[in-house]
């Protein structure tokens, strides 16, 4: 409970600070979780995830800068409403819809994750290989940026996972004679480097940025009229968010944009959108928080991350020796129900913190970057070093920080690298074991119905961006 309390509080602070958010924050906290038992560690990470996703709305409403990418759609109506002197009403609606979306998605998680895990019992090595390929190709269709660039980043992530001793033959690969590399490149230096250090470099290019901050008097519960206007939007966006979250890719950001556009489509007053519509805030916020539970479904049931933050949570599970999948549901149900319960409580806690502490959290945005980021650097360096007490890990983290910065600059998302790194061993391992089973016959993959279904879905996922861009071009 203490872990949950602090996780929610910390998640809110991270969500409020632009540039940090639950993904970077989760990456920063990952080394510290090594001192906790596995359940507490994952409870900490998931509460940061839930609260951080909501926290982004506070900054979106008050300074027109999304604290997290998932809150980008909240800016569209949250800030204009705040400019009209109704910041409290905007934040009140964001808090209520985030809580409803979050709780709705936890219910989806409780029901659907065990069903999906049950289905996964039918999976052998070839099916897992096809599933991992499907997870990677989904990055092309709904990840941010160019689909091919996302695929390159994903392939690069898998390539990183091949560094070190080959797990089947113990032959060194890409170690270049460096002893420390024989164990492979750890998750934490890569995750902290790509998220925290690359963000530090990005912030170094934005030091002259000035935010117009709107003062918050008090957060207000939505009125009866507001509830009447928005309850359908909240429920619809909760459903959309949960569904998008289940798909293996960046859940929250895509979910909030779709939730927002659907709210506009169904609204009786679509002309108000972009000018301070309360429905716009409800649509975006319910969807992005609903994506949190949705994204946990494939993460826990199949070991395929549903979003960038769940990739960090999956890293946490792996470093604590917990292998997600159907066996986890059979062997450690208490562990899973601990996570479900924690997510539910985190959603209620951030509602309470949001209502009573939004004014204080809003002040956190006043901490200047020139103070904040050097401190984050100190924590990142010590955290990365602490895992193996290896200075090489710190250098690897800095290398990935610089690499991540340039990747982002030229339109390569860093999330596929993490997902590729996590799935790399699964992809290679299942491929090689399948080939042993099939006696080297590649065509045997297509004789397995489930594997074939995933391959067809992968082809659809790859073709989808092309079809979408052609449709957009035709419309233009």
């Amino acid at each position: 409970m203490i872990v949950l309390f602090f996780g929610t509080l910390f998640g809110l602070i991270l969500g409020v600070l632009p540039g940090l958010g639950p993904t970077t924050g989760g990456a920063l906290i990952l080394p510290f979780t090594m001192t906790l038992d596995p359940l507490s560690a994952i409870v900490l990470l998931t509460s940061i995830y839930c609260a951080g996703t909501y926290g982004g709305a506070i900054t979106a409403v008050l300074i027109n800068t999304p604290g997290t990418p998932a809150a980008a759609a909240t800016c569209l109506d949250g800030y204009p409403l705040a400019q009209k002197g109704e910041a409290g009403r905007a934040l009140g609606m964001a808090t209520v819809s985030s809580t409803v979306g979050g709780i709705f998605s936890v219910i989806i998680l409780v029901f659907f994750a065990p069903i999906l895990a049950q289905l996964a019992y039918e999976f052998g090595q070839p099916e897992y290989f096809a599933l991992a390929i499907f997870g990677l190709t989904m990055l092309a269709s709904i990840g941010e940026g160019s689909p091919i660039k996302n695929l390159i980043a994903g392939a690069f992530g898998i390539l990183i996972s091949t560094v070190g001793k080959d797990f089947m033959t113990s032959i060194d690969r890409f170690t270049f004679g460096v002893n420390e590399l024989t164990e492979g490149i750890g998750f934490i230096p890569v995750v902290v480097g790509l998220f925290a250090m690359s963000e530090m470099l990005t912030q170094s290019t934005l030091i002259n940025q000035i935010f117009n901050r709107i003062a918050l008097k008090a957060i207000k519960l939505p009125s009866k009229d507001d509830y009447k206007k928005t309850w359908k939007t909240i429920l619809r966006s909760s459903g959309i968010g949960s569904f998008i979250g289940v798909l293996p890719a960046e859940g929250g950001t895509v979910a909030s944009l779709i939730g927002y556009s659907e709210a506009k489509r169904f609204s009786k007053n679509p002309e108000e959108f972009g000018k301070g519509s309360i429905e716009g805030i409800a649509g975006a916020e319910a969807a992005n928080n609903a994506a949190t539970g949705g994204a946990m479904v494939p993460t826990l049931a199949l070991g395929i991350p549903g979003s960038a933050t769940t990739a960090v949570i999956l890293t946490g599970l792996i470093i604590h020796g917990v292998r997600p999948g159907p066996d986890l549901f059979r062997e450690q149900p208490d562990f899973l129900y601990g996570i479900f319960g924690a997510m539910l409580i985190a959603n209620i806690l951030f509602f309470i913190f949001g209502f009573f502490g939004a004014k204080i959290f809003a002040r956190i945005t006043l901490v200047p970057n020139k103070i904040l980021w050097p401190m984050i650097f100190a924590v990142s360096v010590c955290g990365t070093y602490s895992l193996n007490q290896s200075i090489i890990d710190v250098w690897i983290m800095l290398f990935f920080g610089v690499l991540g910065f340039f990747m982002r600059r030229y339109g390569f998302s860093v999330v596929p690298v993490i997902i590729g790194l996590i799935l790399g061993e699964l992809v290679e391992g299942t491929l090689r074991q399948s080939l042993v089973i099939f006696d080297g016959n590649w065509f045997m993959f297509f004789t397995r119905p489930i594997a074939l279904t995933f391959f067809v879905l992968s082809l659809i996922a790859l073709a989808f961006p092309l079809i979408r861009s052609k449709k957009i071009n035709r419309k233009l």
Binding site: T35, S146, I152, L201, I371, F377, V402
Partner: protein, 168 residues
């Protein structure tokens, strides 16, 4: 919109080897090619011990895939050039330089000193001139982090000028 058009036009007027799409594609292909060559130096498993494919096959396939996809993005960029990115400010290069200094200082002098020096340097370069805040980020906060990791998490930091004094 006008700015984007201007920047695209500016990008078109540059020789191809100065354009971002060429530089990025070239770097990816160059590094991938070196790594691909490296895969030929991996040990080969004798047929009797080999299960499935050789250890080098999977990375080779990945690297060929990366090279192929990079050529595709370059080909697409010829038709539809990337927008020209803004020049990076001085503060970025100073931060990058501080990373290099961190690596050198942490290796040769002291890990804690390196964190402290980088924090003060970055904070100063980003515009913080007040002594108290520089001391806060450069000394007070790193000391708190150091003590937290050392005492609560039981971490032992690498030897160096300052850490040796602390441990002795």
């Amino acid at each position: 919109m006008k700015n984007v058009q201007k920047s695209k036009r500016a990008n078109k007027s540059l020789p191809f080897f100065f354009k971002d799409e060429f530089k990025v594609s070239f770097i990816i292909i160059f590094i991938s090619a070196i790594l691909l060559i490296t895969t030929f130096t991996f040990d080969i498993v004798p047929p009797i011990l080999n299960r499935g494919i050789q250890p080098a096959t999977f990375p080779k396939a990945l690297l060929i895939l990366i090279i192929g996809m990079t050529l595709t993005i370059y080909y697409l960029a010829i038709k539809n050039p990337w927008k020209v990115e803004k020049k990076l400010p001085k503060s970025f290069f100073l931060t990058l330089f501080s990373f290099v200094i961190f690596v050198i200082v942490s290796k040769t002098l002291d890990f804690f000193l390196a964190i402290s020096a980088l924090s003060i340097f970055v904070s100063y370069c980003w515009g913080e001139k007040r002594i108290f805040y520089l001391l806060l980020v450069g000394i007070i906060f790193p000391v708190i982090v150091f003590i937290f990791f050392e005492t609560i998490l039981g971490l032992r930091f690498p030897p160096g000028i300052i850490t040796n004094i602390y441990y002795s």
